[in-house]
C-alpha cells in the first residue's frame, strides 16, 4: 500500500501553479492566522503552542512552547525572535524548500510567534550560501510590508514588528543558537557558555531572545490554524505534528517527504516512499537525523520497553520515525536528514568524509573540539590514504569520548557521535582495513591511495 503523505507545511509547494509571491499565498488563505493572532492575547497563543506539544525541528527536539515559557519577560529589555535558517547539517534541505517555495508561510509563522512573545523585532538568520533564498525573503518581506502585514501597526492592531533578514558568512556553527546570536551581533560565531548565557534570558544584545527553526515557526502558523489540541493529535503523544524527512543517499527517489510523527517507519520510508534502494544493492546503514546523529546498522535489532510499558523488538525497518523512537534506538531524529547507505559504501571513507566536515566547521573556541575533531579527521584521512593502523579505531573512540560532553556547545557531541557510532557498529571494517593495509606495507606495496573525498 503506497503511503499517503500528510502535508501541512509543504501542502502547496509542489503544486505547479503555486508561486512564492504574496498574492498566491493570500489566495491559499495566507495571513489568515496572523489576522486571527493579533486579535488574540499573546499568552493564549503561547498556551496553544504549549498545548500542541510541538518540538523543535532544528535538531535537539526541545518543546517550543516550553522554550517560550522560559523567556524572561520581566527584565524590561526588548525581546527578540530569531528564525534559525542557517541550515547546514549535511543531509538536511527542508528549510531551503520552505524559503524558496513558500516564504510567506515562514513570515506569517514568525509574525504570529513574535506577537506571542511580544517581540518588536525579528531576525531571519539565513545561511550565507542561500543567496537566492535571501532574495526571495527580502522580496516577500517587502510585499508583506506593503500589505501592512509587517512593520508598524500590523493590520491596525497596534502591534508593530519588523523582520530583518541577515545573511550568515557561512559557518555550520552559526546554526547553534548562541553562536548564531554572536554572529548576528557582528562577532565571531563563538557559542556562548551556558550558564549564564541562556538566550531566553541573555540572548541577542544580552536581551531575552527566542531562537526557533524555520519548520518550527511554520508549525506555529498551523497550530493557530487547527488549534493546539488538534495539532497535538497528529502523531503520537510527545511526538506531535508532522515532520519533514529529507531523504538522501542510495535510494531511488531521494527528496523531502512530510509525514506525521511516527506515521511512517524507516522501512516504509526507504522502500515504499523513496522507491527502495538502487537495483542489486543491499541496505547497509542509515543515518536518521543529519550527519551528526548516530548511525544505525541494517542488521541491528533493537529491544526494550517503551514509556507506556509495551515491549518492542524492532529491526531497522520497523523503527517509527519520530523523536522518541529514534532516541530509543540510540540515535536521534535531529534535523530530519535521513541518509541511506547501501553496501557499496566504505564506512571508513564515509566517516572520513563526515570528520572532514566537522573538522572544517569547528569554531575553534574550546579546546576539545578545536583540537580533537581535526585529530579525528587526520586519523581517518590517514586511514583512507593507506596508512591505517589497527589501534586507530580504538584511538578514535577514545578521542571522541574525550570530546563529547566537555565542550561549550553541542558541536562536540555532533562531531563525536558519528565516530563513536561508526566504530561501535562497524569496527570490523576499520580493523580489516588496517590489516589489509598492513599486509600491503609488509609486501612492500606502499600503496598511497588517492582519495576523492578530501
Amino acid at each position: 500500500m503506497p503511503l499517503e503523505e500528510q502535508r501541512l507545511i509543504l501542502k502547496y509547494v509542489d503544486e505547479p501553479s503555486y508561486t512564492n509571491d504574496i498574492d498566491c499565498y493570500l489566495k491559499h488563505g495566507g495571513y489568515d492566522q496572523l489576522k486571527k493572532a493579533v486579535q488574540m492575547k499573546p499568552e493564549a497563543i503561547c498556551q496553544e503552542v504549549l498545548d500542541s506539544g510541538v518540538r523543535g525541528r532544528g535538531g535537539a527536539g526541545f518543546p517550543a512552547g516550553m522554550k517560550w515559557k522560559f523567556l524572561d519577560r520581566k527584565s524590561g529589555k526588548p525581546i527578540y525572535l530569531i528564525c534559525n535558517a542557517d541550515e547546514s547539517e549535511p543531509g538536511t534541505f527542508k528549510d531551503r524548500q520552505i524559503i524558496h517555495k513558500d516564504p510567506h508561510q515562514l513570515i506569517e509563522g514568525m509574525l504570529c510567534s513574535a506577537f506571542a512573545i511580544q517581540a518588536k523585532l525579528a531576525f531571519i538568520y539565513i545561511r550565507g550560501e542561500f543567496f537566492e533564498g535571501y532574495q526571495i525573503l527580502e522580496k516577500a518581506i517587502e510585499e508583506a510590508r506593503q500589505k501592512n502585514l509587517l512593520g508598524d501597526d500590523i493590520l491596525g492592531s497596534g502591534y508593530s514588528c519588523d523582520i530583518i533578514v541577515h545573511r550568515g558568512a557561512g559557518a555550520y556553527i552559526c546554526g547553534e543558537e548562541t553562536g548564531l546570536i554572536e554572529s548576528l551581533e557582528g562577532k565571531r560565531a563563538n557559542p556562548r557558555i551556558k550558564p549564564p548565557y541562556f538566550p531566553a534570558a541573555l540572548g541577542l544584545y544580552q536581551c531575552p531572545t527566542i531562537v526557533n527553526n524555520v519548520e518550527t515557526l511554520c508549525d506555529v502558523k498551523h497550530i493557530l490554524e487547527i488549534g493546539g489540541k488538534a495539532f497535538s493529535e497528529i502523531g503520537t503523544p510527545g511526538n506531535t505534528g508532522t515532520r519533514i524527512w529529507c531523504v538522501s543517499g542510495h535510494v531511488q527517489k531521494p527528496g523531502y517527504y512530510e509525514f506525521p510523527c511516527a506515521g511512517v517507519t524507516l522501512g516504509e520510508l526507504i522502500y515504499d516512499v523513496c522507491g527502495g534502494l538502487l537495483p542489486g544493492r543491499k541496505l547497509k546503514a542509515v543515518i536518521p537525523g543529519g550527519s551528526s546523529s548516530k548511525i544505525l546498522r541494517a542488521d541491528e535489532r533493537f529491544k526494550g520497553k517503551l514509556k507506556d510499558g509495551t515491549e518492542y523488538d524492532w529491526g531497522i525497518e520497523d523503527i517509527p520515525m519520530d523523536f522518541d523512537s529514534l532516541s530509543l534506538v540510540g540515535s536521534m531524529s535531529g534535523s530530519g536528514g535521513v541518509i541511506i547507505m547501501d553496501d557499496s559504501t566504505d564506512m571508513v571513507e564515509a566517516l572520513a568524509n563526515i570528520n572532514y566536515f566537522y573538522a572544517h566547521e569547528s569554531c575553534g573556541q574550546c579546546t576539545p573540539c578545536r583540537e580533537g575533531v581535526p585529530w579525528m579527521k587526520k586519523i581517518t584521512a590517514r586511514m583512507c590514504a593507506g596508512k591505517a593502523r589497527e589501534e586507530d579505531a580504538d584511538l578514535l573512540v577514545s578521542i571522541a569520548d574525550q570530546i563529547a560532553g566537555r565542550t561549550i556547545c553541542a558541536f562536540g557531541e555532533a562531531a563525536s557521535w558519528p565516530v563513536q557510532s561508526f566504530i561501535a557498529k562497524f569496527k570490523d571494517e576499520f580493523v580489516a582495513k588496517a590489516k589489509e593495509q598492513e599486509l600491503l606495507r609488509q609486501q612492500g606495496v606502499d600503496e598511497v591511495k588517492e582519495t576523492t573525498l578530501i
Binding site: 569554531c363 574550546c366 579546546t367 586519523i379
Partner: protein, 567 residues
C-alpha cells in the same frame, strides 16, 4: 570577573569534606581558598578578567541537594543524608558560582579523565618548544601536563603549523603555534586597557591570534598580555631568550613610576636585573603594571650612573666626604631640597637633619598626564611619605621659589639637593655657581651633580630597602634585589652618619632599628615596625590631609582622601 560583595560564607562539600568559603566565588577561587591540593587547573580563567570558559581545563563535577519539586523539601537517601543531584556531565569551574550545599568533586575519575583529555588535546598541536620557550618554568601548560598529562603521545599525525615570531607591537612578539587560544590577552585588551587590537582570525584548528589589520599592540600595558599568557605564545621582545626564569631570584618591590606604587616583582640573577613583573595587590594594581615601569631598572646600568663619592669633582672616600659635608652644614645657612623619590626612612632622617640645622626645606612636584589606570598625575612614588614625615604640610610647587630667594639673598650658603636636577626645575645654574655649596645626593649624573661640591651617589630603589606611601596612603615595602655599585653604602647610612655628628643619637645596624625610632616619633606611624609591613602594605590614617588638593584625578584604584575616610 569574580567579586565578593559580602562577608557571607557558604558551606560547600569538596570531595566529601564540608568547608566554608566566601559567598560569590566561583569553583576555581573557592578551591584555591581550600588549598593547593584541591587546585582546579585552568588556562582561560583569570581573576581580573571576564569568564570565557573555552579552555575546558577546569571541568569538575557539581551536584546540588535534590529537592522535591512540589514541596521544596530536600530528598533524603536511605541513610537520611540529603540526596545529591549530580550534573551528568562535568561542568567548568570558572563559570560555576558556588551556592549553599553545593557538592564538588575535584578528584573523581570523570574529572581526572576530563583534565587528562583536555591536556592531551592542548598538547597535540603544541610545538615541542620547551627548550627554547621563554615560558618554560612558569608555564601553566607545562605544570598541568606534568600533573595531568598522559606522559606519552598518541598523536602521530603532523602538527599544525602557524606563524611563529610575529611582531604584535614594539614590545610583544607572538608565537602562534604555542597559543592555546585562551583569549586572555584579547579580553585584557577589551576590558582593562580598552585598546581592542587583538583577535582571532580563521576557524577551528586554523584559529590564529593576531592584531587587527593596521593596528599594533603598542599601548603602555601591552606586556601584561605576556604575563597573563598561560603559555609562551606572547613573549616580551625585551626579555626573549635572555634567561630562563628558574635562575632568577624574585624580590618584592614597588614601582616608582608614579604615586600609584604598583606592586612589582624584580627578577634578577647574580646582581643583574632581567625583568620586572607586576605582583598582585587588589588594593593597588590588581595584577597589572605599565610597560614603562618595567623598563625603569635599565637606568641603574646607565652610563650616567654615579659610582663614587666625589668632592670638587675628585673621587674621595666616604669618610672624608661626610666629614666635609658636616663641616659645611655646621657652618649654618643650610637649604634642603628634598625629594619625593626618597623613601620614608630617608625622609625621616632628612627631617631630623632639617630640624637640627634649622634649614630651609622645600620640595618640588613632578606632574604629568595620568592615563586613568596605573599612571597617575603625580609622577613621584612618595610625596605622601613627605607629608606623613611632616617634612611638608602643604603640597609642593613646581619650582623651589623659597630656596631661590634664600640663595639670592645670601641666606643659604649650603644647599643639600636630593635626586633633583636644579636646572630642570627652574633654578638658574649661574646663581648656584657663585654663591652656594651644593651637596648632591642622587644616583645619576646631571647638571646639578656636575656643579656640586660634594656628591653622594645614592642607591636606586632596586638596590636598597625601604618604604613608600602611595596615592591611597598605603605604606608599601620594597626590598633589595641587587647589590649596588661596589663601595656605596645605603642612603640611610649616609644620612644617619651626617646626622650623628649633630647630636649623639645612637646609630643603627638595620632598617628595622630605624623603624623603631620612626614609630616612636611619628604619630601616624605609631605601632608600626619593619616586620609588620606586609607585602600587601599597610593603610595609614589620612584624616589630616583631607584639605590638600592632590593632583590625582582618576585611576584604577584611586580614592580621594574624603572617600578613603568614608570607607
Amino acid at each position: 570577573m569574580i567579586q565578593i560583595q559580602t562577608e557571607e560564607t557558604v558551606t560547600i562539600s569538596v570531595d566529601g569534606k564540608s568547608i566554608n568559603v566566601p559567598k560569590g566565588l566561583n569553583v576555581i577561587e573557592a578551591m584555591n581558598s581550600v588549598g593547593k591540593e584541591k587546585e582546579v587547573p585552568h588556562y582561560c580563567y583569570h581573576p581580573k578578567l571576564s569568564i570565557a570558559g573555552n579552555c575546558r581545563m577546569c571541568l569538575v563535577e557539581i551536584g546540588t541537594p535534590m529537592r522535591n519539586r512540589e514541596t521544596g523539601e530536600a530528598i533524603l537517601d536511605e541513610e537520611g543524608a540529603p540526596k545529591i543531584g549530580w550534573i551528568p556531565k562535568p561542568v567548568i569551574g570558572c563559570s560555576t558560582i558556588i551556592s549553599e550545599g553545593m557538592h564538588v568533586r575535584t578528584k573523581s575519575p570523570t574529572v581526572l579523565e576530563s583534565r587528562n583529555g583536555v591536556t592531551e588535546f592542548l598538547l597535540i598541536n603544541h610545538p615541542l618548544d620547551c627548550p627554547i620557550c621563554d615560558q618554560a618554568g612558569e608555564c601553566r601548560l607545562q605544570e598541568f601536563s606534568a600533573e595531568h598529562g598522559r606522559g606519552y603521545s598518541r598523536f602521530i599525525e603532523d602538527k599544525n603549523v602557524k606563524p611563529k615570531r610575529t611582531r604584535l607591537g614594539p614590545r610583544v612578539t607572538l608565537d602562534d603555534e604555542r597559543c592555546i587560544l585562551c583569549s586572555r590577552c584579547i579580553r585584557f585588551g577589551q576590558e582593562i586597557v580598552k585598546d581592542d587590537v587583538l583577535g582571532f582570525v580563521d576557524r577551528g584548528s586554523y584559529s590564529t591570534l593576531t592584531c587587527f589589520p593596521g593596528k599594533e599592540l603598542s599601548n603602555n600595558y601591552s606586556l601584561n598580555t605576556v604575563d597573563i599568557c598561560p603559555v609562551g605564545a606572547l613573549t616580551s621582545t625585551d626579555f626573549r631568550f635572555k634567561m630562563r626564569v628558574w635562575f632568577l631570584k624574585r624580590t618584592h618591590s614597588v614601582c616608582t613610576e608614579s604615586s600609584v606604587g604598583s606592586n612589582t616583582e624584580i627578577w634578577s640573577r647574580e646582581g643583574k636585573i632581567y625583568r620586572i613583573t607586576p605582583r598582585r595587590n587588589d588594593a593597588v594594581n590588581d595584577t597589572w603594571m605599565t610597560d614603562s615601569g618595567r623598563g625603569l631598572y635599565k637606568s641603574i646600568e646607565s652610563e650616567d650612573r654615579l659610582k663614587a663619592y666625589t668632592m670638587d669633582g675628585l673621587t674621595t672616600d666616604i669618610d672624608s666626604a661626610i666629614q666635609s659635608a658636616r663641616a659645611l652644614i655646621d657652618l649654618g645657612g643650610v637649604g634642603v631640597l628634598g625629594s619625593a623619590f626618597s623613601s620614608v626612612e630617608e625622609q625621616f632622617l632628612l627631617k631630623n637633619i632639617v630640624d637640627h640645622t634649622k634649614a630651609q626645606f622645600e620640595m618640588v612636584q613632578h606632574l604629568g598626564d595620568g592615563d586613568g589606570l596605573l599612571v597617575s598625575e603625580d609622577r613621584t612614588p612618595n610625596l605622601r611619605g613627605a607629608l606623613v614625615n611632616e617634612l611638608l604640610n602643604t603640597l609642593p610647587t613646581k619650582c623651589p621659589n623659597l630656596l631661590i630667594k634664600g640663595i639670592e639673598d645670601g641666606v643659604i650658603k649650603t644647599l643639600l639637593v636630593f635626586n633633583e636636577d636644579l636646572s630642570e626645575i627652574g633654578v638658574p645654574l649661574e646663581l648656584l655657581k657663585k654663591s652656594v655649596n651644593i651637596i648632591y645626593f642622587g644616583s645619576l649624573r646631571n647638571n646639578t651633580s656636575d656643579q656640586a661640591k660634594i656628591v653622594f651617589p645614592t642607591l636606586s630603589v632596586f638596590e636598597k630597602e625601604g618604604t613608600f606611601v602611595n596615592q591611597n596612603f598605603i605604606l608599601q615595602k620594597f626590598n633589595k634585589a641587587v647589590p649596588g655599585p661596589a663601595g656605596l653604602v645605603s642612603d640611610i647610612e649616609v644620612l644617619n652618619r651626617l646626622l650623628l655628628g649633630a647630636n649623639d643619637q645612637p646609630g643603627f645596624t638595620h632598617i628595622a632599628d630605624l623603624w623603631t625610632k620612626i614609630a616612636e616619633s611619628n604619630e601616624l606611624l605609631k605601632g608600626i615596625s619593619w616586620e609588620k609591613i606586609t607585602s600587601e602594605g599597610l593603610m595609614l590614617k589620612q584624616e589630616k590631609f583631607g584639605a590638600l588638593n592632590f593632583p590625582e584625578t582618576k585611576n584604577l584604584k584611586y580614592k580621594p582622601v574624603a572617600e578613603l575616610q568614608a570607607t
